[in-house]
């Protein structure tokens, strides 16, 4: 457990969170949100919460992203903000 890696992931989490909200394309937002979830899952497995990380990897980064992509595909990618 290196604190440098820990800190880097924490920073990246914030960056992806902001990016997924700023990007002007909903599909991009969905993918960035998947990246956010995956980094979060990494963070939790570093903290030793293996079950939570496993669930987040399958639910948050996996199925949630698929739902987002499916919903964006059925509606539109356009967003003003």
């Amino acid at each position: 457990m290196f604190w440098q890696i820990d800190l880097a992931i924490l920073t990246l989490v914030v960056v992806t969170a902001v990016a997924s909200l700023m990007v002007k394309d909903l599909l991009g937002a969905a993918i960035l949100f998947g990246a956010y979830s995956f980094l979060m899952c990494l963070l939790w497995s570093i903290m030793g919460a293996v079950d939570v990380a496993f669930t987040e990897a399958s639910v948050g980064a996996g199925v949630s992203s698929v739902f987002f992509v499916a919903a964006v595909f059925r509606t539109s990618r356009r967003t003003k903000d």
């Binding site: 989490v13 030793g48 949630s64 987002f68 003003k80």
Partner: protein, 131 residues
Amino acid sequence: MAELIPTIIAKYNYWIYITLMMIGLYAMIAKNNLVKKIVGMNIFQTAIILYYVSIGVKKGATIPISTGGHGAVHEAVHAADYLNPLPHVLMLTAIVVGVATLGVALALCLRIYSRYNTLEEDEILAQIRKK
């Protein structure tokens, strides 16, 4: 200032969780696009999960699975060796609740889109007002 830096470093997980939570909250209040709001909502929820997982961390402890395996029923287990499993259990529930809310929210978005043909809140409100 000198004593502030150790405080910041000692609890940086907590500061990051607050930052993420505020990012999510701001997105939910201020964003105009309905799907963006849902992304914000999910960030908001994961921030709370991050907070709970941070509670469970213990210095010098390993993951909460007994190293002895099935055969080790009679070996003594020292609580200090393992992480606190309770927050992990609570957060499994919270993650599942999160994905359930996400599914319902997206279904509602689809319904709204099929009616108004847009996902921008101001355009929808303009359409409602026009009638």
